[in-house]
Amino acid sequence: MCCPGCKAVATLIRDSGFERYYDSREAPEPGIVRPPDEAGEWQVFDRDDMLTAFSARQGDFAEASIYVGGMYCAACSWLIDSTLQAVSGVSSADINPVTHRLRVTWDSAAIGLGGILGVLANLGYKPQPLAPDSTERPEQDEQRSALKRLLVASLGMMQVMMFAVGLYSGEFQGIDADMERFLRLVSFLVTTPVVFYSARPFFAGALRGLRARRPGMDLPVSVAIGGAYIASIYATYTNGPAVWYDSVTMFVFFLTVARYLEMRARHRSIDRSTALSSLLPNTATRVDGEQRLSVPVSQLAAGDRVLVRAGESFPADGVVVEGTTSVDESMLTGESTPKRRLVDAAVMAGSVNVDGIVTVRVDKTGIDTTLGIIARLSERARYARPAFVQLADRVASHIVIAILLIAVAVASAWYVLDAERAFVITLSVLVVTCPCALALATPAAFAAAGSRLADLHLLVTNGNAIEILSRATHVVFDKTGTLTRGVPDVTKTTVLDNHFSADDCLRIAAALEVDSTHPIARAFAKYESGLRASELSLTVGAGVSGIIDGRHWRLGSHQHVTGTEDTGTDGTLSNVFLGDGVAITAIFDIDDTLRSDAANSLSALRNIGLSLSLVSGDSRAPVERVATALGIENSRCGCSPDDKLTVIRELQQAGETVVMVGDGINDAPVLAGADVSIAPSHAASLAQSSADVLMLGESLQPIVKLVSASSHTMRVVRQNLAWAIVYNLAAVPLAATGFVPPWLAAIGMSTSSLVVVLNALRLSRFQ
């Protein structure tokens, strides 16, 4: 247990009988983001106008979509589901662990939306109500219709295959003319939905490709499917010599499987639409004259005055009009120490108000804020990423044109030689050369590697990442929260008064800081011992004071503790002083410590042959200390998001393939601009959404595994592509000279696809 918040969550989970959550969750503890919300924050959502804004009513029941931030695996979705089911008034709760969206219906007489959000917040997740019918549908619809298409294609294929066996054996043993026609007719009946329903995306894709003048793989596929289908109908109608329904359905089935696998991998990516707004609070306290009203952040406008208490984050960009405070902007700028903000100073949306209560005049809201601009910057960088088209697509465009040319050549040659066989042979050529194996080669390998990497606590959200990682040359690290743990720690305690031991001093400090929301306070939290301080008071930007066992204590800056200016310390470390108002009892060195395996992981990366850099928004001293400790030669400090992006662009122009590892909002544009980006699971959601790979857990070790797994994967992809091309080169002459009937072509095509898939599956056992 790291804090009272954790304890509350653990108690809630235990008391509800859900402690098995701890046995089966996959991601290790993410650490505490902020203390659990007071009930007040969610109460505003109980109001009637909120209910109409965020939910749809069905009689007494209301239904709402809620984005649940901070969930990673099936155990989370089970916990949320089970907890909500037990809440009285909730009639159903469906959570999708892939899109992180919860659809909940409840009896609005028994419980309000605020109550439900409160339950989720108490579990430690970050709920965020969504306007009805916001972006959930497209992905879900795509998933569902792909599944339906796959099923129709597979059932259709099985049935038509069965009839085909009858037809083929009929060719050898003789068959009733009536029975043959009947079997062809039912084959036609079953094939029709497969062609018009399951294969529709291929036709649509081919049409799109033609319009854009960039024929893709869909074009020859459509020509083969459409051609064989129409020719089969013609043969069925005129009692021609052969039908090809079996080839058509089998072809469609294999292609649909490939598409489905690819789509599943794509949907695993993190949802981008909610990334920006989840950094902002859900509600803000608006001040109208004397009245204070809790309103949703989306209803704020420029000119409004909002009250921001200690520990809350600012809902919009603005100017302080009343009060003073310190502001933690580390997520936005990378700077690790909080900044003082007096009246007339500007504050940024998404930064955290550390210790004072201030009233802020809102200047900019939503996407116009600095936060919104960073979000847009990262979106742009993502589009401007060095153009990389998927390997198979690049090859495919050429192959497609080659196949069509060959097919035309074969058709016209046979038309002259033997017009009757021209169609059958052309069809064989089209089927046998189907870029199926080629199409499967890459996605199958990526899917297998992706599921193996998920076991290793790495979520690959962009398939291309693996290809690029295999040829990466340079890794750029962010400092705060990536190489370091991102939470302050007491690294050294110097006791000046020998009546006290170092442990005593730490316990006293912990007791003084117990209620503080200041980031420094977290350094002392683990020394809490049950010692209680009374008359705790806080001086904004200076420190805290209180009485323990009748003795007066002050903790904070030199000025705060002794009343005199600080002279003795070197200023490179954050020093916190403990004293009684006159003399200093102890000095604590506070520092953001390195992750335990940072040194190991970095030297392993260096051994693979990658160069390393450190780019941080923090000031020189802490950056250089980390760089020296880890032996990183290139380090840059004080970088804005733009500067960081420039550093990456320079490396890229020098011909390097750059991997970026970072976690802050200020890293988001860089993550998007780098060739491949990796974000730890505790990263800001904006950083996560810009990243190609998410690391679950505290360790940096997975990066090393990721790099070696990618080169392994690309080896398999290359084997697959080589096999597919060799097979095609061997099969085309045979088919073109008329030695391969369409059914054999279909079997050959399937076998080659199967070889590719089996080869890819070897990756799922990668160590």
Partner: protein, 56 residues
């Protein structure tokens, strides 16, 4: 072999039924989440919360 004229349409009817049932299942969201049910089966839902209230 005339029995085939009866059996094959019957098979097609069954096929149609299977497709209809599957479409219904997909439409009602049973295939939206393929990860959780695999875990859920090993978690018993009938376990009661412990009675004592001591915190750890």
């Amino acid at each position: 072999m005339n029995i085939l004229y009866l059996l094959i349409p019957l098979a097609l009817l069954l096929l149609g039924g299977a497709v209809w049932v599957f479409f219904w299942a997909v439409g009602s969201g049973q295939f939206d989440d393929l990860d959780t049910p695999a875990v859920r089966i090993i978690m018993d839902d009938d376990k009661r919360p412990p009675d004592d209230a001591t915190n750890d």
